[in-house]
Symmetry: C2
DNA sequence: CGAGTGATTGAGAAGAGTCAAGAGCGGTGG
DNA sequence: CCACCGCTCTTGACTCTTCTCAATCACTCG
């Protein structure tokens, strides 16, 4: 990466503002960046905290950072200093093996936290790459730890967020370890749907931000297999697929595909 | 990511070099229950803490619990109250789907931490089952959090342990998502070997505590496939397998198996 | 409008799964 | 001590899912 690109990337946004899932740049400049005003707060780090404690987070989260589509928020080996709350946009995290194999380990949407892979080793173990122009709130982890010692509720919340990440990963292990291709794709779609609902979007109709190849990588399948399964689902009237646009027609049908497993 | 990193990664606690020389089960049984005296302290929760801070953990960890082979330390749905440090023995963690599928999500050996799957939801999301008669130190999590607010080093350590668990899981996702059966088994063996070394055991000769079926479940393979691959490795003089007794003959050869297929 | 990605589809190959038989090991009880 | 049982492991033959390779189509962007 060039220094210029690096500088652009780490340039903080000076005038913090309120979070609305799809506000334009002009609006951003106008509103303050405070968790207490952010409409993602119920999904994000402050979730479950009371007004007072949220105010303590406000002190922490004063920087934002934009990441253009295709650029990375951080890369393997980068020094770890902060975790990030996605404000808008969409990310994938992935590792690249020396032989070139690239494994997507997760997708991240607004209100979700990125970067916890770096805490243990003090450098990042994953790449986080924007799948569309995105914006994140930068949460300096050392300061978060400091404030956590003063605000037990916040400490607890940090632990919960990390624990959920562990449980989530183990869900993916289950998916990769014991499900057939059809089931994997069904789980993937249903999971996306759920996450969109939680953000106030339609549960049944959405745009995939990632390519078939990225989906395949995440699910441990080849892109052709993903494509074939989308086609098969379409034939069976479970979903309507048009390139990246997905409409889920039969949630029950998709769920039935996977024995019983509900996430 | 390097192959070495991957092998390391699926190890729960990346230990800091200080290998412990030949601790046997008998020695462990003799020492009083204090982290500061424990042979495993360099691998376990206190790893990296100074004498003073370790003393604070001593106050926390006053209970131990024995778990007989085949019994569970905790089960899905149990109320979460503590995390556990394995003192002796061997555990697997697994989830069981309604349709009977059973996915092993990890194996846990002395010095490693179990139970962090429960923090987020306040109940456990996994089953932890002893593969041999085992003993764990019980660490009440609420008290750990309290003490953490007073001892920044400890808070940091808790975060590191959790983060490593996240990174470990992502290593397993990589394994399940993009490796062929042979590679998976090779990584599995090399990883076990590393973890035994860190505990002062032979890197090349050890007993598998788990069945072929459990290995298969963990690696996303059927038990027959695991068995066949062991046989193939034996034919190629990479390892000597006799039921559960494993001798690794050619570490380099096993490592070479990984990364032969480009994507 | 054309170039370049990304997506779909087909045919054939390969890897892993399934089913089944039998061997090895360890414990139990006659 | 031996025979038997139950469990785990090994091996073979066959099946089937998923991958690979390749051709073609669909969109997007300049």
């Amino acid at each position: 990466m060039t220094t210029a690109a690096l500088i652009r990337q780490i340039t903080p946004i000076r005038n913090p503002t309120t979070a609305l899932a799809n506000i334009g740049a002009r609006d951003i400049a106008r509103c303050p960046t405070h968790c207490s005003n952010c409409n993602l707060r119920e999904l994000c780090l402050p979730c479950g905290l009371t007004g007072n404690d949220v105010a303590r987070i406000d002190e922490l989260v004063y920087t934002r950072r934009r990441v253009k589509r295709g650029e990375s928020l951080y890369r393997v080996g980068d020094k770890f200093s902060s975790i990030y709350a996605v404000r808008s946009g969409f990310f994938k995290s992935c590792v690249i093996l020396e032989d070139g194999r690239d494994q997507v380990t997760g997708f991240c949407m607004p209100g979700e936290i990125l970067g916890m892979d770096g805490i243990g080793t003090e450098e990042h173990n994953l790449n986080a790459i924007a799948l569309e122009d995105s914006e994140v709130c930068v949460i300096p982890f050392a300061r978060l730890e400091e404030v956590s010692t003063l605000v037990p509720g916040l400490q607890r919340q940090v632990h919960k967020v990390m624990s959920r990440e562990i449980v989530r990963d183990q869900g993916v292990m289950m998916l990769l370890g014991s499900m057939r291709a059809e089931e994997r794709v069904a789980v993937f779609l249903l999971n996306l749907s759920q996450r969109f609902v939680a953000r106030g979007y339609s549960p049944s109709e959405f745009h995939l931000r990632m390519t078939r190849e990225e989906i395949g990588s995440y699910l441990g399948l080849k892109l052709e297999t993903v494509s074939r399964i989308f086609s098969r689902f379409q034939e069976e009237d479970l979903v309507a697929v048009q390139q990246k646009h997905i409409r889920i027609l039969d949630v029950a049908g998709l769920k039935k595909l996977m024995g019983q497993k509900l996430n």
